[in-house]
């Protein structure tokens, strides 16, 4: 039996009496392993039914449970409390907060409306001009390899929440949406010409990225959005100077 304290940032903006953020401590006993998500369920079941958080797959593939745990962006379901800084201490404490710099819905749930609006805005789908062949669109393994990194994005929002350019400017598209744009522009099957380009090739798009690299640091999937964004900047230049993106 092990014991651990969860220090959870609670806030219910709807609550007229207490709309402010405050921290609350909960003691959790467990055996073997404990992920932060399991800890939150424990609190929800044993102590406080009002605790709100997102969850779904509990296997780090859906991107629901992104939070700010012990001062870092993490997926709650992927974070074993044994791996946190406080692990060795006799009276371990884990702090759990919502992702900072995003509007709050309740407790650990952030408002992702803008995040997905920007995702949609970037036209995240394959654009084809020529008619489809009868069978598959051929793609060499080499071209396919270029997609390996960007297609692993689970749209968790960590990068978006961590980017200082987003904090300063609500209309900046942000790393996740730009990574999506990259994912399609770099795809050998994509035939978008100016369609998508006009959406990211501007000062609310790629040029707002100052290569701050917080996004890379924050991504729980270890992706590198900056790599994609920088590729897009070069692609824009290639297009203007040589008339082609890829």
């Amino acid at each position: 039996m092990a014991e651990i304290t969860f220090r959870v940032k609670r806030q219910d903006p709807q609550d007229k009496k207490n709309p402010e953020a405050h921290w609350e401590d909960y003691k959790i006993t467990y055996e073997g392993n404990l992920t932060v998500l399991e800890g939150l369920f424990y609190i929800q079941e044993k102590y406080d039914g009002s605790l709100a958080f997102r969850y779904c797959c509990r296997a780090s593939v859906c991107g629901s449970c992104a939070m700010y745990i012990d001062g870092a962006y993490r997926l709650a379901c992927q974070t074993n409390v044994k791996h946190l800084d406080s692990a060795g201490s006799p009276d371990p404490v884990v702090t759990v907060a919502p992702m900072p710099h995003l509007p709050l819905v309740k407790d650990l749930v952030c408002d992702m409306t803008d995040f997905f609006a920007k995702y949609e805005y970037i036209m995240p789908w394959l654009i084809r001009k020529s008619p489809d062949p009868e069978k598959e669109l051929l793609q060499s393994p080499k071209d396919r390899k270029k997609l390996d990194m960007p297609i692993d994005c689970i749209l968790c929002g960590c990068c978006y929440s961590s980017c200082p350019s987003v904090w300063g400017e609500e209309n900046y598209l942000g790393p996740a949406a730009l990574l999506k744009a990259y994912r399609f522009e770099v795809d050998s099957r994509d035939e978008a010409r100016k369609d998508r380009l006009s959406r990211w090739d501007n000062e609310r798009g790629v040029y707002r990225c100052h290569t701050i690299m917080n996004c890379v640091e924050a991504c729980p999937k270890e992706l590198v959005p900056t790599e994609g964004i920088q590729w897009l900047k070069r692609a824009a230049i290639r297009r203007r100077l040589f008339g082609r993106l890829k």
């Binding site: 997905f116 949609e120 795809d187």
Partner: protein, 570 residues
């Protein structure tokens, strides 16, 4: 009240595919989902999706007929063969379609889609994108949904169907972000809420797979079919039941017991680790039960080390990450401890080949439905296929249904209002209830009962005892209440509302299993170890009986016509 032509409940592969098809037919479509569609459970699927493309060098002679036969045999001949033929024929087309929409399948040197061997299949026909096929497919469909401007209502927990004069006219949903119940009316409703894995304690499924959609249809009077057939996957991680895909064995992984033997030699000498799941799961469970687990512990090893770092990193990177994060072992260096875990509900809402149920206006597709292509046991790679093929068919049929409907009156507003009122009253009552039972404790208890009594091996005495426990849990569940009554993101409310449906679905499963005195596919009874085609080549139907504890059971024949039932040997 919000109105759309078609209301799709669930944003997984099945729901999205149906929505896109209906939208392309010109209908105004809305998708309601408890989580953002991109977060649906389909994204967790790893291994791949079957289609007889014949791209694999050893698969040149593959054809949809062979795919259909493998599927039928894998399902122990309980599948409806017309549906199976339909699915395997459509398979090739839908894979190419997904590719044209941008799905990043892995590729051969010549640029074609790669395929790998999968359990129970005579040819390597499982198309894949690394070991994240579900994720890639799901995101491709999410992207297409945005492209086609399907209206997405995200974080809407659907809890009730609106039925007026026997016709389904919409749903009631709890808006998790803004709070409160809202009626969504539509000419037709497509349920695509996925499986009910969470009625088991040892499930590989997502935490939201509680069978809500099945329960809604069931409570509205539509029967659930073949619920006793629950698939156990041979390789869930020991401590968390997170899935280690079948592709790990498809790529050549071994299953090893405590004595260091590849024990599948004893159970399926020809197919070895790639026998169908029910057989491999039973083999693993037998090894564990007979004390041949690793160091006597209740698990066996999935050993990938001989594949080498390069192959693991290229073909199974996701598996490796999961094993590292959740079990603390790196498959490149150590074998992975695994146990058989609940994985898939073969049964579900009874539908025809077009996804239509017996209730006009109500459709179902995906894991929550049972067209019956999987029969008594699903083959790996067939369920992603099912979601897309039958999602598409349901979407198309909804269009035909709406066109041909003689009664063009708009949905009845009073019925919608009454349904919302009913939900509000129910919550009111829950909030005021003097709760003497804890909903969470009951849920845990139920999941442990199903795990213990309706697992890989079943028998009369065990199941009777289990059923009794379930019935008592059902009774006690009437005494739960709400601890939190806030409006916004009230998980207490959602999880309490889930409970009733979960118990009812579990009861359908339990009674169906108890009644079926044979062993077929995933339903294996130690007291009736043989398949009994004379008496049991038929589907179980479970009907809701308001006010009674369990369902009324009925049976209907299996559609044959292509393959004669034969003994199933691997």
């Amino acid at each position: 009240m919000i109105h759309h032509d078609v209301i799709v409940v669930g944003g997984g592969l099945a729901g999205l595919r149906a929505a896109i098809e209906a939208k392309r037919a010109g209908l105004d479509v809305a998708v309601l989902s408890q989580v953002h569609p991109g977060r649906s459970h389909s994204g967790a699927a790893q291994g791949g999706i079957n289609a007889a493309l014949g791209n694999h060098p050893e698969g040149r002679d593959d054809s949809w007929e062979k795919h259909a036969f493998d599927t039928t045999k894998g399902g122990d001949f309980l599948g409806d063969q017309d549906a199976i033929v339909q699915m395997t024929k459509d398979a090739i087309e839908v894979i190419y379609e997904m590719d044209h929409w941008g799905c990043p399948f892995s590729r051969y040197e010549d640029g074609r889609i790669t395929q790998r061997p999968f359990g129970g299949a005579g040819f390597p026909r499982c198309c894949y994108g690394a070991d994240k096929t579900g994720h890639y497919l799901l995101h491709t469909l999410v992207e297409q949904a945005y492209k086609h401007q399907v209206k997405l209502y995200v974080e809407q927990y659907v809890c009730k169907l609106i039925v007026h004069e026997g016709i389904c006219q919409g749903v009631v949903a709890y808006d998790m972000i803004r709070g409160g119940f809202e009626a969504f009316s539509g000419g037709a409703v497509i349920i695509a809420t996925g499986g009910a894995g969470r009625i088991y304690a040892n499930s590989t499924n997502a935490l939201i797979n509680t069978g809500g959609g099945m329960a809604m249809a069931y409570h509205a009077g539509v029967p659930l079919k073949d619920m006793e057939f629950i698939q156990f996957h041979p390789t869930g991680l020991y401590s968390t039941n997170i899935l280690m895909t079948e592709a790990a064995r498809g790529e050549g992984g071994y299953l090893v017991n405590g004595l260091g033997e590849r024990y599948m030699e004893k159970y399926a000498p020809k197919f070895m680790e790639l026998a169908p799941r029910d057989i491999v799961a039973r083999a693993g469970q037998t090894e564990i039960n007979e004390g041949r687990g690793i160091n006597g512990q209740p698990y066996v090893y999935l050993d990938l080390r001989h594949l080498g770092a390069e192959k693991i990193l290229e073909r199974l990177p996701g598996i490796r990450d999961l094993a590292i994060h959740f079990e603390g072992v790196d498959p490149i260096e150590e074998p992975i401890p695994v146990v058989p875990s609940q994985h898939y509900t073969m049964g579900g809402i009874d539908t025809n080949v077009d996804g239509a149920t017996i209730m006009p206006g109500l459709y179902a597709a995906g894991e929550c439905a049972c067209v019956s292509v999987h029969g008594a046991n699903r083959l790996g790679g067939n369920s992603l296929l099912e979601t897309i093929v039958f999602g598409r068919r349901a979407g198309a049929d909804v269009f035909r249904y709406l066109e041909s409907r003689p009664d063009k009156r708009p949905p009845n507003a009073r019925a919608a209002f009454a349904a919302v009122q009913a939900m509000e009253d129910k919550v009111e009552a829950l909030a005021r209830a003097e709760a003497t039972e804890n909903a969470y404790a009951l849920r845990t208890e139920m999941a442990l009962v199903t795990k213990e009594h309706f697992g890989v091996f079943r028998d009369e005495a065990g199941m009777k005892a289990g059923l009794d426990k379930l019935l008592s849990i059902k009774e006690r569940s009437a005494k739960v209440g709400l601890r939190y009554t806030g409006n916004v993101f009230n998980l207490d409310l959602i999880r309490t509302l889930d409970l009733e449906g979960m118990i009812d679905v579990a009861l359908c499963m339990a009674m169906g299993a108890l009644n079926r005195t044979e062993s077929r596919g995933a339903h294996y009874r130690t007291d009736y170890t043989k398949r009994d085609d004379a008496n049991w080549l038929k589907h179980t139907l479970a009907y809701y009986r308001p006010g009674e504890a369990g369902p009324r059971l009925d049976y209907k024949p299996v559609t044959l016509g292509y393959f004669e039932p034969e003994e199933r040997k691997y």
